[in-house]
Amino acid sequence: MKKTLGEKIIFAIVSIIFLVYALVILYPFFFAIMSSLKENGRAYINDSVSLPWPMYFGNYVKAFKELEVSNNNFFQMVFNTIWYAGGCTVLEILSSSAIAYCVCRYKFKLRNFFYGLSVFIMIIPIYGALPSSYRLFSILGLIDSRFYIVSAINGFGFSFLILYAYYKGVSWNYAEAAFIDGASHYSVFFKIMQPMAMPSVTAIAIMSFVGLWNDYSAPLLFMPNLPTLASGLVLYEKETQYMANQPIYFAGAIISIIPVVTIFIVFQNTIMQNVYAGGLKG
């Protein structure tokens, strides 16, 4: 359909606004990359605006060696992040998937209750649970523990609703055919339904992983001595104050965002096509 002249003008204006907004978002990254290539010391402190020359690519290698927080070097922080984000994502998605599938496809007494519960959790605003969580995690010995990730085993909430909607839309014929051929409920779930749900599961898993990778507040509070990259950057700034080696600090920041940006670039179409909220019933 052809655009009218008025629409062409509107699109031209929108294009300009989009371009300016894109530059506003991208500039900080350009600034960070430029800063990460500068030499530390007086030259940097007195002039953080100019372009770097010569370029110190070695700052990126130094970031791995020199960025240390709470006795954790950069590699340890990378491992902590993968453990925290990966572990929580796996546990959260497995829980949500199991509950969503059962509630959606099996008839049992508490079925409607669980669905209602999930909607209830989503719409009831609870503000003061942090102190109680802190106490519980202390009692369970989860503070500063790698086992903190078990707190992600909670199948209700946003992931549940997305997966519930997905399982609701999937044809049950494949499962029935498998049951006739003698397949067990476990086989149907793990070998038929789960692979079919993979695009939705992948989309939710990536969104969850990215969110956890970037989360700094929970790791700061619950894992202060096992810093992730996000919480480590906050702690590094706090620990070094004005003594921080800024170019190396920026190099570390740039390195920390590479994995999530790469994952998003690779999977952006999967995410865009498989996640949308169609309203809440309950």
Partner: protein, 298 residues
Amino acid sequence: MKKERSQRSRELEFVCVMMALPVTGFIVFWLIVNINSILFAFQQIDPLTGGTRWTFENFVMFYEDIIVNDTILGALKNTMIFFSANLFIGMPVSYLLCYFLYKRVFGYRFYRFVFYLPSIISEAVLVILFKQIISAKGPIGVFLYNQTGMYFPFLKDSRYALKTILTYSLLMGFGGNIVLLSGAMSQVDKEIIEAARIDGVGLFREMGNIVFPLTWPTFSTLLLFTFVSLFAASGPVLLFTKGEYQTRTISYWIYEQVYFSKQLYYPSAVGLVFTLIGTPIALGIKKINSLIIPDVED
């Protein structure tokens, strides 16, 4: 009959096995946590014994903090500013942004990626960069100094600090709903749009009268989530100012009490009060949403 019964028991066994761990997790990490949170609201440390005692002191303290002191009231005021900015600026702009991406403005794939970038990059990193850029020796600081001869302490002055955090939050937050809204817009039947265009419907009528009603379930869900987190509305206060220069919000204040002071009881009481105020508001919004377009699931 017997076969049917064994089939049914196998089904139930499967359901129990699959749900056992997630339900246990829910009971431990949600139910117990929230029940405890309510109980904490009515407890305080006994200075004589060092143990805890049941009391309404926390609520008296809350009343005084709201009426006499500025601590909670200031945080509440800031929270409302963040909430209003998100509701009246963030959401409409976000919708417009998604609409033009949906209309495939030139370079839409690139823009979709760039606008969503702040949502996939750690706020810790973004704030570090933003702070550096607006600092006295950063590009914006230097530019403003050259233009006005003045140094603007954006994060160290009560006049600017909250506005700076708010500006950052809005700028970086416009693209946050792209995934959900783009997903919903992609479901709009193209034939409806084409038929409307043939009938001479213009761009803004198409957006207001066709796309918006068809994506209302998603938009209303986002609206509902905004109201659900009414008293949690905040910017990255911890990363910018640690609550100094009158930038505290309710959610940051609660976090601060636990993180820095290891205070558990008073923040629980404050949280409970805001939960009690926020719940009817959230339920009311949900009711209004479902009156506009009835629930469609099931």
